[in-house]
Symmetry: C2
Subunit: 251 residues, 2 copies
């Protein structure tokens, strides 16, 4: 009985700024507004929607936080339609992980299992352009390491590129979200190493970074050779090693 009353509950209690954001979002979904397009200024939008500027602002705030637009100040600035909202999801995942107190073990385990599966599809579906992107990534990482810099971003990006090569958007999102958390954990944990005696610790981080890049390169070769067994095996031991490193950094 009470289940029935729950149907047909909210039909008009939507706040004005929510209507604003929903209308604009709809235009983006329908392709009327495309990435790179600029929305009218807040004052202009206020006129067109016939609401106050404050209401427009709160609506834009929603779209901004959801990743649909960015906002630039100054002349010829204003709200700009973005190409993707995936980064936003990663940020929310970060918050959620912190809130739910997710442990490093859980993170490593899930990453291991999921990326293992993804690799199976990468072997079957990766094309030349995927492999080229992976190679370029490895090369960029090597450049950094030769300059004695850690290649954190590049090494994280490698896993995202792998997910893209699986040709499944869901994998891209999941791997990307997990990678964002791993990246956050890593940078947070290695930050402690930058003490007075940072040269020693620093070069050790670079060394670990180099190890990762070496394995990444081997993985790319295995993918190109369509050597499923080797690729998966490399990937698994690589992920386990990264996991162990994260664990050891915790102390």
């Amino acid at each position: 009985m009470n289940e029935h009353q729950k149907l047909f509950k909210p039909i008009k209690n939507e706040r004005t700024f929510e209507k604003v954001s929903r209308r604009i979002k709809r235009l983006i979904f329908d392709g009327v507004l495309k990435p790179g397009d600029r929305l009218p200024s807040e004052t202009e939008l206020a006129h067109q929607f016939d609401v106050s500027r404050q209401t427009i602002r709160e609506g834009l705030r929603i779209l901004e936080l959801s990743g649909f637009i960015t906002i630039q100040k100054g002349g010829s600035g204003g709200p700009l339609i973005q190409t993707t909202i995936l980064n936003t999801i990663n940020n929310l995942f970060l918050d959620a992980f912190q809130l739910e107190k997710v442990t490093t073990e859980e993170l490593t385990l899930a990453r291991f299992e999921i990326e293992r599966v993804v690799m199976d599809y990468v072997i079957d579906r990766a094309d030349d352009s995927d492999i080229q992107r992976l190679r370029e990534n490895v090369q960029r990482a090597r450049m950094k390491i030769e300059n004695n810099l850690v290649a954190v971003d590049e090494n994280i990006e490698f896993h995202n590129l792998l997910a893209e090569a699986s040709k499944n958007h869901v994998f891209v999102m999941v791997v990307g979200s997990i990678a964002a958390v791993v990246r956050d954990h890593t940078s947070r944990l290695t930050a402690n190493l930058e003490g007075p005696d940072n040269t020693g610790a620093y070069s050790e981080s670079v060394l670990k970074s180099k190890n990762a890049v070496d394995i990444h390169e081997k993985i790319v070769e295995a993918i190109e050779a369509k050597d499923r067994k080797k690729a998966k095996q490399l990937m698994e031991s690589h992920l386990q090693e990264v996991g162990h490193r994260l664990e050891s950094l915790k102390d």
Copy 2:
């Protein structure tokens, strides 16, 4: 070169309302503010932070959309600490799916692979309370079906409960997000069936729903018996069937 200039860029261009939301978010992370606690009213917050109400409002808007607070109108209302962040993530996933034009095939495939892995852990880690929750879920679903209702929510919840039984928060989030999208797809696609001749189509949906519950029950039994092979096999065929149904509904 230009890579170096990108370092050390933003240090003080954070907007005031972002500072507000960040300060409050920090208090939540640190446990000072716990779910159920109430924040001061907008006017009071404006006084304490020494900023205008508009600025407070935009800060609260961020927290609301991020899933950290809900806002109640009326007397003794105001901002309430309530973590709905998982719902927020699910909503963003929905947006992302629409924006990135994710196909049903991709969704079904990823779901199949991930929940297959999750089941492996469920077998090892599910305890009595997990199994009891699963049983209760099946029972609730049966109740609905006996009243000739589709048990969409219950059947989606079953998969979330499974993820929880794996004792890994990452799996919970990932499965939950995917389930939310599946739920959206299902309800959107079955909505087309509610035409003038809805009685026939409706009872067919109930029938499909009943099939799902039957398999769910068998899965619970297999988990309780720790029959890994059977549980995984049931799960796999179940997910494939659901996937096929989603596909067939598209036309």
